[in-house]
Amino acid sequence: MTKLAQWLLGLLLLGGVWATVTFDLLDLDPPPACREVFWPLPVYLLVAFGCYSLATIGYRVATFNDCEDAAQELQQQIRQAKEELSRKGMRL
C-alpha cells in the first residue's frame, strides 16, 4: 500500500467516525454535549497539528548545530593537504 493510500484510509476512517457521530447516522442519539464537541473536531485537530508542526520546526531550526569547529578543522586540513601534495609533485 502506498503512503498516499495509507493516508486516505486513515482519513476515511476518522472522517467516518466523525460523520457518524456528528450526523448521528446510526441513530445512537448521543448526548448533545458530545455532538457539540464532535462537530468542530477536524478543525481542532488541524490547528493542533499545525501548532505542533510549527513548534517542532522552530525548535529544530533553533537547535540546528553550527559546526564551527568542523569548518576550522577543514580549513587547516586543506592547507596541510596542499602542502603535502605540492611536495609530492602535484601542480595545484
Binding site: T2, K3, L4, W7, S53, T56, I57, R60, V61, F64, N65, D66, C67, E68, A70, A71, L74, Q75, Q77, I78, A81, K82, E84, L85, K88, G89, M90, R91, L92
Partner: protein, 251 residues
C-alpha cells in the same frame, strides 16, 4: 610506497573492502583535498579501500588533476572512470559500481561538504548491526551544518519535517548523500530508482524501507561548499516537492 600502503590496508583482516564513488563535475580545487583526506583516514583506520573518480567531462580539467593524483597514490587506490558528458547521478553510480571491487560502496560528494573522517564511524556502525545501509545525518545527535543562514536552515528543517510526516522513511536525513551501502543493496536500489538529482537520494532511502533493508545512522557535520557555489534555488525546492509527492503517491 604502494606496497607499504597495501600491507597497511590489509590490517582489517575481515576481507571487507570499501569502494568510494566520487562523481565529479568541475571539482579541480576540491578533488585533491578530498582524495588526500580519504587516503589519510583510510590509512589511519586500516580498512582496505579504493577511490573511483567518475568525472563527467568537466571543462575545468578535473580529470587532469585526477590523473596527477593517480600518479601520486597509485592506480590500485585511485581508479578513473570518466564519462563524456554530464549524465546524472544515478547512472554515475551504476557506472562506478561496475568497476568497484569492494563489497561495500561509499557514496559522497566531492565538494568537501562530506568529511572523510566520518567514514571509519560509518564502517564501525555498519559492523555493529550488520546494517545494509549506513546513512550520515545532519539532523540528529552531534550532526549539524556550517555556512547556512536562517532561511536555509528553515527550508531544510521544514522540508525534512514534511518528508518525515508524509513518508515515514525510518531515516532522519533523506536528502543527504553521504552513505555506505552493501554493494548488492546499492545495486538493487539503483536498479529500482527513477528520480533525478537529489530526489534520487531520497528515493534510495524510501525504496530501502520498501525492501526492508536495515538502516544505521551516524551524525555528520556538513560544511557547505568551500570552493564554488552552493546550489539551492526556487527550482530545487520545486523539484524537491515534486519528488516528494511522487514518492508519496508511488511508494
Amino acid at each position: 610506497m604502494a606496497a607499504v600502503r597495501e600491507r597497511k590496508g590489509a590490517r582489517d583482516g575481515t576481507g571487507d573492502m570499501y569502494s568510494v564513488l566520487l562523481p565529479t563535475y568541475n571539482e579541480r580545487e576540491n578533488l585533491p583535498i578530498i582524495v588526500w583526506l580519504l587516503v589519510k583516514y583510510f590509512g589511519e583506520s586500516g580498512y582496505k579501500y579504493e577511490i573511483i573518480i567518475i568525472d563527467d567531462g568537466s571543462p575545468d580539467g578535473t580529470l587532469e588533476v585526477a590523473k596527477q593524483l593517480q600518479k601520486i597514490y597509485g592506480e590500485d587506490k585511485i581508479l578513473l572512470r570518466p564519462r563524456e558528458k554530464k549524465l546524472g547521478l544515478g547512472t554515475a553510480y551504476i557506472h562506478g559500481m561496475q568497476h568497484a571491487s569492494g563489497n561495500f560502496i561509499i557514496i559522497m560528494d566531492a565538494d568537501l561538504s562530506h568529511h572523510p573522517k566520518f567514514i571509519p564511524e560509518f564502517i564501525k556502525k555498519q559492523k555493529e548491526g550488520n546494517f545494509d545501509i549506513v546513512s550520515g545525518t545532519r539532523y540528529i545527535g552531534n550532526g549539524g551544518v556550517y555556512g547556512w543562514d536562517l532561511k536555509r536552515k528553515l527550508i531544510s528543517r521544514g522540508a525534512n519535517f514534511l518528508s518525515q510526516v508524509l513518508l515515514r522513511p525510518g531515516a532522519s536525513d533523506l536528502t543527504g548523500s553521504f552513505r555506505l551501502y552493501k554493494k548488492t543493496v546499492l545495486q538493487k536500489l539503483v536498479d529500482n530508482c527513477v528520480s533525478k538529482g537529489y530526489v534520487f537520494q531520497m528515493e534510495m532511502i524510501v525504496r530501502a524501507r520498501q525492501f526492508n533493508y536495515t538502516i544505521g545512522e551516524v551524525p555528520i557535520s556538513f560544511v557547505d561548499r568551500v570552493y564554488g557555489e552552493s546550489k539551492l534555488g526556487g527550482n530545487e525546492i520545486v523539484s524537491f516537492l515534486k519528488g516528494l509527492l511522487t514518492l508519496f503517491a508511488t511508494t
